[in-house]
Symmetry: C2
Subunit: 490 residues, 2 copies
């Protein structure tokens, strides 16, 4: 076998074992008996040891120095394999083990601190996590930016500087839009009515099918925090049900379907290779967001959904499709990112991005984080944070060491804005389809333009070739300003 | 670290990864999307490669030559580790891979042959599987009996000769009992009534709890063929529902609960070691059988169950507890092992045992198997086999290479007979408990006598120390003759 063939075979096994790890994660969140938690963590640690040994196998290093790719697909495989090998061999095993140990405990401490609104309880742990991630970033950065080294795990090819500049351009327009919308005389009403569990799940399944999710290669279950899991021919989604708020369930489902359809849509020719995964968190989020927002919360599609909701639940409080559209897209003041809306969501991300960049660079000390968060929240959202669980303790991410992850959510929105602009250009009658509950053309366009390529191209290139133009923030901002100015008559 | 400590750490990881493999098997039979089958087989193959490499790791061989056990538990750990290392290193990797490949295809061919009653379609594959298993047995046997080498995977320490002699003593008495019972004037009636899916599952859960299954460390799902899966703190069971025949569901559940309680009952001190599994298939089956039959189908317990069934399903057709007891223990002529009863079940096993021993020794050619099966069936069951799917094609075992497995079912019954005799000696009032639906003392006795020991002792010793006498077939035969002579008044 050639060095290249050896790499392909090695990656095949690694990919398969990584799927097994994903399946254990799914099981843990959906079906695992609660008494199995300790044993499961040992099982996952044993499998993680196996995966780490494969990813740092010295033979892989040798093959990578010798391998020649036969074609463009081969080049992409080598690019991923090389990046993974370097990333994994640069971090000393002792540091990786220490990070795993500390972050697994840190999540519990964070949960306690959030429940008690007790920042001092969390600070020593946060200090420790940041110190370890900085140490890891130093090992990875090779003299470059620490933050960029962490960002590369989630959005390869992107820099903190580039994202920061883009966010700085977006912020004033989003703050201005938020102020206009929240100050508007016309405010949409929430739904009223009764939204039973089974009805929400039935409609969730129908929405998943409508958006092209393939149930023969997946399944829908319940979880506390909805997620999508797996690649290839086993991509599972979860949702949750709140009997007061059916949109929580339905739009969580559509969001996860976007992630899942990306994985299900990857070219079968890439099966069991590093190309058989979504290429980055940002591109992944572009799919979940365009399914959920640009398509799922459009006036056209909510017109169709309004009828389906009335069939399932009877009277919703909304008199007509336009009122229903208002309820789906309602903007209201609030502290919590995950309960936010299209207008305010990106402001949440920008706040976190600037603070975490400063934490990693050392410009901000964890002890000063609460004050910095609250100042910034007041400035961007016009509201004073009332307690830490509504402020710096609201998200799990930092406790488990996820620094560099937050910006990919907003990057996904930016990419979704670009993709929707290009999709409308290529499918001028898309609103007629959406109004009929027919997503075939829209999701087919995304599958062909983005999803099928998997890891073939770099993230930004994936979006650029799908759109036919270089992505930037303008289409998203124009879309949001137009949509919400119209809806709120401002 | 000492050689012994290295072994303990190595076995810890292997045990954890074997649990992951078990979980994949559970998922495959209960929740996996059907389109994921090909990918799943690749995932399992990748994990099997990892497990095989661990089990044949040359370092393990070195440690085993040097290790000294600090105590009895340590000695048992070394015994298991040594046996596993020898078993796995003796079979050439190429042969193991070929066996895996051929048996994975063979199961599909067997299923086709069974569906079409087409023995010639199955014969070339069966020939191939037997040839490979004989080759494997030669590698394992070290000049000894081929069949014993295969049997050792399921029932270490037992020989085909020993089992054959015991079965030869049992057969005439079981044939005589079958003839008396089937020829009796008094024949119990089957139940009539309506047995809804949800009611059966509700009662299944209740039975599982009644027999001591710990749902915080397990769960109950549906599967085509009921099974129990996993060890330690994640032991899951499955059942199936036939709306015509509630006993199928309820007694499948109790049977799997027996297996699961064995795993759940093992001493926590053995966690993540080779002792943290049931010690053999025969001892495992002794637990499932005594839960299902000696306890679950007793007159005392069915009296309690009769009331629970009427609460759940209303009129059952049975006028009183005695008629219900008859329905639970009804013996009827039939071809299929898995639909059999306490009287005829062991005759099914003896038939298979003699034939598979002859197939492995070479005394019987696969081409002569159908005639041999049908002759023997007529002689032991008094009925001519009408078609191969009711004869030699009824069981999946041989197609997947399981030779040496069948006798452990009957051995389990023999052990269950011994355990029940000892249990009645130590708990003379057990029938009063059973009549009240109280299994605490009986399952506690089994946990303390058998289950908690896991792999500490050899299989036969495990039973002998629990009973206080050497196990043989007499208690089982005496139990069956007394129970069915009474029930059928013969």
């Amino acid at each position: 076998m050639t060095a290249f063939q050896n790499i392909v075979e090695h990656e095949h096994g690694t990919w398969a074992l990584a799927q097994v790890m994903g399946r254990l994660g799914w099981d843990q969140e959906t079906t695992m008996p609660r008494g199995a938690a300790v044993q499961r963590s040992e099982e996952m640690a044993a499998l993680e040891t196996v995966l780490h040994a494969r990813r740092t196998d010295p033979r892989l290093g040798d093959w990578l120095t010798q391998a020649e790719a036969p074609d463009a697909t081969g080049k992409a495989i080598l690019r991923h394999a090389k990046r993974s090998f370097e990333r994994n061999t640069r971090v000393p095993a002792k540091l990786a083990a220490e990070l795993a140990r500390v972050t697994s405990v840190a999540q519990g401490i964070w949960a306690e601190a959030r429940a008690r609104d007790d920042v001092p309880h969390f600070l020593p742990t946060l200090n420790q996590v940041i110190a370890l991630r900085r140490e890891e970033a130093s090992a990875l950065a090779d003299g470059g930016s620490l933050y960029d080294a962490l960002l590369a795990d989630y959005e390869p090819g992107m820099t903190g500087h580039e994202i920061g500049a883009m966010f700085d351009r977006m912020r004033p327009r989003l703050v201005a839009l938020r102020e206009k919308v929240l100050g508007a005389d016309r405010q949409p009403a929430m739904l009223t009515g009764s939204f039973g569990h089974d009805g929400q799940m039935r409609l969730s399944r129908r929405l998943a099918e409508t958006f092209g999710y393939d149930f023969t290669r997946g399944r829908l279950d319940l979880a506390v925090h909805p997620f999508s899991s797996g690649s290839g021919s086993d991509v599972r989604i979860t949702t949750r049900v709140s009997e007061d708020d059916p949109f929580n369930c339905l739009y969580s489902t559509i969001h996860e379907v976007g992630h899942a359809c990306y994985e299900q849509g990857i070219d079968q020719a890439y099966a069991f290779s590093p190309l058989a995964n979504g290429v980055s968190m940002g591109v992944h989020e572009s799919q979940s967001r365009i399914y959920e927002n640009q398509l799922g919360r459009s006036r056209a599609f909510t017109g169709w959904l309004f009828d389906r909701m009335r069939e399932e639940f009877g009277d919703l409080g909304a008199k007509n499709a336009e009122q229903f559209y208002g309820a789906v897209n309602r903007v209201s003041a609030g502290y919590i990112r995950t309960e936010s809306d299209e207008v305010q969501y990106n402001l949440h991300i920008m706040l976190r991005f600037d603070l975490e960049r400063a934490l990693i660079s050392g410009d901000l000390q964890p002890g000063d984080l609460e004050a910095a968060w609250n100042d910034r929240f007041l400035s961007d959202f016009g509201v004073a944070v009332d307690r830490p669980s509504n402020g710096m303790l609201q998200d799990v991410h930092w406790s488990v060491g996820l620094f560099g992850y937050f910006p990919t959510y907003a990057l996904g929105n930016v990419y979704a804005g670009c993709l929707m602009k290009a999709l409308r250009r290529d499918l001028p009658k898309v609103d007629d389809d959406l109004a009929a509950g027919n997503l075939t053309a829209a999701t087919g366009w995304l599958r062909n333009g983005v999803q099928r390529h998997g890891g073939l191209m770099e993230p930004r290139d994936t979006i650029a070739q799908a759109c036919g133009f270089e992505p930037d923030e303008e289409p998203l901002l124009a879309y949001l300003e137009a949509k919400f100015s119209d809806l709120y008559a401002v």
